[in-house]
Symmetry: C2
């Protein structure tokens, strides 16, 4: 398979490239290299030292045995994207090339507008380029579980499932008509930041392209990913993917593990009852490969809710404390006013059966992944102390 | 009230400015003047001769007695928008400044991307500017009934109403659990073009701004508007608002009336069973004024489905034929392969009780409005014959 990865220099893009290469696929990549700059802009760096893109291309050749095709390009430049897809002729495009931070998108108008511009218009340019030069390719698009927010009801995978109906209680308290077919309509989204909203907008745009142009897509609503390792990254330190821990780009478990190493009380926001679905990095890569190996039909728009299981923030904090303790490190849990606007106790029951149906089996217990992460971060403690200021929440939603 | 109208030079913007001025409100306007260029780009013009913006400002002063504040600015330029709202200090912003054509957005990547960029990023810049300099202003945002598409169920106003539940038929054909509260979630959208999708994205963005920042907004899902006249436009020809009839910017009834005058068989697409909600121009202006006079609470995101009643395309064509016949003009109904992707026979039952609850009473019978329109277009027949090529559908969805 010829797979183009947009955002190949990112946390998920790089390990996915190595996995696909190891499996014998031909891999291409596009990246603006914006992510490295954004993280610098917020005063931080990757906890794991990472190679430059030219070094990564060299390493990829050594490891996989053939060349990684790479373009440093802006995905919002339609003419460039058209040319690249036309040259590479992808069987699949894994679209990871978006600004991925909710807090970054809430800093000010400039960041909100550039986030929506980059994410929405980049995806739109890719849809048009696919329509023009590779209409049979499979678009594996990274969304987020955050598109749904936390509604007071079960969350299906992307759309209302077959046989879904809506009804309304009448004034006398009885149920109204139930002949209101919702099947296949987009399930209501309730996103919590300008960043999360871009993923909602992308979902609607991608769904339309499948309906209007017969494209095919898997839209992945992924929960936060944690971890430093995949099968390939275990080989040697030079393989490492980035690991962010600042308040903007560091996702929660990664951030907690760095805090544990730096002796910073874990930054639990508010009551800590916020519940989300999480999965380890190795599982994220396996799920994406499974989706690529089981593509949808032409014209099909398919959604997977991609996570292992759900946890509250407080549960995660306690797990990190326990993992650190097992390594002889004492960690405290801090209390922070919640900078976000979100429910801190809520119902949460998302379906995630789609990936399991095509073969996803969660592979690791969280505790062992957390210990592995802390051990990977420990050698960098002295360097990371210089960036400790980047950890505390500064960006407020209001 | 101090009201800022974005897109003040447009079909709705100009008559709304005159109405608000006549009612004693202070009116400001922003426009890039892109619309005039876009219509030229597709080889067409306004059927009604219209004044330039400086002439309109002069006329406004004569008619209303005070000055119309006007800025020729790009709404996607956040710094400019911030400055303008800061100077004008609006109590309400009526946001009409979007690229409004579905076919235009389907021409090619360039038009699709510029449409999404202009519409989404412009609205986003306005939300940030409101947050910074006029957080109590009422945003009256123009959406479209086309956001919903034509689902197999009733369409509420914007969100699932209070007491809404969803359930799913179980394998044995009985209804599953009904304790799945959907209240207040965005009702599923199913838009049919890159343009319509911008309105969906705007709705989600505006809803979030109300939730996160306590802004207030009325989101108007409007059906296609038709007509040449409002109370103010009846005064004299110089008052005229634009009237487009080309395949891209001409909405269906306006296009049919010009076709009737030019002797072109009415361009019914496909089976003609497509059903939508319509309203006359005078009603559209009255509805917007009603919404401004009955603003939502701070933090409230309110949606109105804005139309008089629903008709099939074939019914509209027959009405135009009948109106023309009454004026001694013979009109044929043509048959065109449908360039769009849409259902040509479908269930359609949208709620529109919100505006009626605050005082909207439809004022005119369609037949009389159609005759008025045809009479207004007749004097321009010779000039418009030069643009007859712009009428036939050229832009295909696939």
């Amino acid at each position: 398979m010829r797979v183009m990865i947009t955002g190949i220099d990112g946390y998920l893009g790089w390990p996915l490239a190595l996995r696909l290469g190891a499996l014998g696929h031909t891999v291409g990549g596009i990246d603006t290299m914006f992510r490295r700059q954004w993280v610098k802009d917020v005063g931080s760096c990757s906890a794991t030292p990472i190679l430059t893109m030219p070094q990564r291309m060299q390493l990829y050749s050594e490891f996989v045995g053939n060349r990684l095709a790479f373009w440093q390009s802006d995905l919002t430049n339609y003419q460039e994207v058209l040319k690249i897809y036309g040259e590479f002729k992808p069987d699949a495009i894994v679209y990871l090339g978006e600004q991925p931070s909710a807090p970054y998108s809430m800093i000010d108008a400039e960041q909100a507008i550039s986030t929506q511009s980059n994410n929405i218009l980049g995806t739109l340019a890719t849809l048009w380029a696919m329509h023009r030069v590779c209409p049979k390719a499979h678009l594996l698009k990274l969304g987020t579980m955050g598109e749904y927010g936390t509604p007071h009801c079960d969350i299906p995978e992307g759309r209302f499932p077959k046989g879904s109906y809506w009804s309304q209680l009448t004034a006398d308290g009885t149920m109204g008509t139930t002949h209101q077919d919702l099947s296949n309509l987009i399930f209501p989204r309730c996103a919590g930041s300008w960043y999360h909203l871009t993923k909602v907008h992308d979902s609607y745009n991608v769904e339309f392209a499948c309906r209007a142009w017969n494209l095919r897509s898997t839209d992945v609503m992924q929960g936060p990913v944690y971890g430093t390792r995949t099968e390939e990254l275990k080989n040697e330190d030079r393989m490492a993917t980035r690991l962010d821990f600042d308040e903007a780009f560091g996702t929660i478990i990664n951030r907690f593990c760095v805090q544990a190493v730096l002796g910073i009380p874990l930054t639990v926001y508010g009551a800590g009852g916020q519940t989300r679905g999480y999965l380890p990095l190795e599982d994220s890569i396996r799920c994406m490969v499974l989706a690529l190996e089981h593509p949808p039909q032409l014209g099909e728009y398919r959604t997977f809710n991609q996570f292992d299981r759900t946890y509250t923030i407080l549960h995660l904090a306690n797990e990190v404390v326990a993992a650190a303790n097992e390594l002889g490190i004492t960690v405290e849990i801090g209390a922070h006013e919640n900078p976000r606007i979100e429910a801190e106790h809520h119902y949460y029951n998302p379906d995630s059966s789609g990936l399991r149906a095509i073969g996803y089996h969660p592979i690791a217990c969280m505790r062992s992944v957390l210990k592995e992460m802390i051990k990977d971060i420990l050698p960098h403690e002295t360097r990371l102390q210089n960036y400790a200021d980047a950890v505390a929440p500064k960006t407020k939603w209001r």
